[in-house]
Amino acid sequence: MLSFYSLFYKEILRVWKVGFQTVMAPVLTTLLYLLIFSHVLEQNTNVYPGIDYTTFLIPGLVMMSILQNAFANSSSSLIQSKITGNIVFVLLAPISYWEFFAAYVLASMLRGLVVGLGVYIAALWFSQPAPVAPVWVFLFAILGSAMLGTMGLIAGMWAEKFDQLAAFQNFIILPLTFLSGVFYSIHSLPPVWQSISHFNPFFYMIDGFRHGFFGLSDFSPWLSLIVTGVCLLGITLLALRLLKSGYKLRH
């Protein structure tokens, strides 16, 4: 248990030491999105009746920051440790594969949630969407950050070079987040793209999260919960299996 805690603490300490880059920078980036998109689209976009575009956008951006930062944390920590070689200190220690998993994923969740909270607080300056059902907000934030933290863990294990990790991020994570309805409701899309979006697990996480704010969503939050839960379970089992076998860590 103490091994787990130490590894978790190490990951948090790492984030803390470069807090400007790991927390402040993503908050600023997201605020720029908010500023530009809301300025351009405020006049001619109305997704849900009675909710202006800026207000609509904020939960999506918060969730996007949570997801991206959860992914970035475990993946970049692992690849850095692998490339500099200091991963051996963890591998030499009596740390079980599930402790390893829990430490990296929980630290990633924490980073994602802190950045998400930061974005939300900063966005209050523009608009003040108060969650009507905080339980959904909380639930999807937890599940979403866990999912992306786990995906980051897998990507970090798989990648052998920084550019491989960048490819994973740019060709998988980024398209999935941008095409998940952060900036729009998928009902505004052509039918083909609507059906394609239904296969994007990120869509359900954002839709469910937004439901917690407005009580309105493209799908029932229960459906989103089931899809997100099943995806999280699948990816967790995959990650644990890879860790147990020592995939690309213990040669």
């Binding site: 805690y5 030491k17 500099t84 030499l92 020592g246 040669h251």
Partner: protein
């Protein structure tokens, strides 16, 4: 029978086309100072990686203090402290943070006293709050040693710890490691510097292409080369009867082997008989280098 410090049975490991370890059997007793020698690619580091769990064996069993490194890895890793060959460090942390975290990984919470002792013994005390990035290569190497010792492991493995290390650090490092050995720690050392193994190790195994080609006490391995070598500078030609003993020859310089010291006098007599004057003569003791080359050559034949 009590468990050995390290026990390796019929261990195989293959990396693609390369059979890195080819049926290793080795038993190292508690309290030994053991040397693992061999040319590059002999499998030394692979063997250490298997012991420490950085790699998994294809076949065979490895035990540390009787604990299987795969099935009982939690206990076996607590028994083992490894100083890796590469100069690795975590650039986010200071020396003290590094050592505290490493203690935590091993499940130790209040380890400050021992951390201070280790830092003191390795001359790290005044660098305790310096970031790892700012340390010189030699200092980073010391931190690696300290990290391997935070959990007071009974077995300490050093994988070429003095590669690229200055003389002063080498001396102080060996002083400390010897002290640990005297305190009862088992030491397993791999090195390229044969004189180091010769001076430190009580027993030596030689590895070549994933096999143990020699395993004996340092004394016996040296004794395997009974006799000595004579380097001669002569005025005149070497008598034909002595030619079979020549290993090296440059102009008037000859290097001859003798089966024992008692063969020295007959050799000198032969030289006298032929009226040859000796300008210079040095006697040489066998060293590990020679034993090693001999073993490797013999193995090839």
């Amino acid at each position: 029978m009590t468990a050995a410090a390290i026990e390796i049975c019929q261990t195989y490991k293959r990396y693609g086309q390369l059979q890195a370890l080819n049926g290793i059997n080795l038993r190292i007793e508690k309290g030994e100072f053991f040397g693992l020698l061999g040319p590059n690619g002999a499998g030394k580091t692979t063997l250490i990686n298997l012991l420490s769990g950085l790699a998994l064996p294809d076949a065979g069993q490895l035990r540390i203090h009787g604990y299987d490194v795969v099935r009982q890895y939690r206990t076996s890793r607590r028994m083992l402290g490894v100083v890796p060959q590469e100069l690795v460090f975590d650039p986010f942390f200071t020396v003290r943070e590094t050592l505290r975290l490493q203690s935590g990984f091993f499940g130790l919470h209040h380890n400050e006293t021992w951390i201070n002792t280790v830092m003191h013994n390795l001359g790290l005390t005044d660098k305790a709050d310096t970031n790892m990035r700012r340390l010189s290569g030699g200092m980073k190497r010391r931190v690696l040693v300290a990290q391997a010792l935070v959990h007071k492991p009974p077995v300490i493995v050093l994988d070429e710890p003095t590669a690229g290390v200055d003389v002063e650090l080498r001396q102080s490092l060996w002083h400390f490691i010897r002290q640990l050995n005297r305190d009862g720690h088992t030491i397993l050392l791999t090195t390229h510097y044969l004189e180091e193994a010769e001076a430190l190790c009580t027993r030596i195994a030689m590895l070549k292409q994933g096999r143990v080609i020699a395993l004996d006490s340092t004394q016996n391995l040296l004794g395997a080369l009974t006799g000595c070598r004579v380097r001669l500078k002569l005025v005149g030609k070497l008598p034909a009867s002595l030619l079979p003993q020549v290993i090296e020859q440059t102009d008037k310089d000859f290097l001859l082997t003798l089966p024992s010291y008692s063969a020295l006098e007959p050799m000198l007599k032969t030289l006298r008989t032929f009226g040859i004057t000796i300008q210079e003569m040095t006697l040489q003791q066998p060293d590990l280098e020679e034993v090693f080359l001999r073993m490797v050559r013999r193995d090839m034949q």
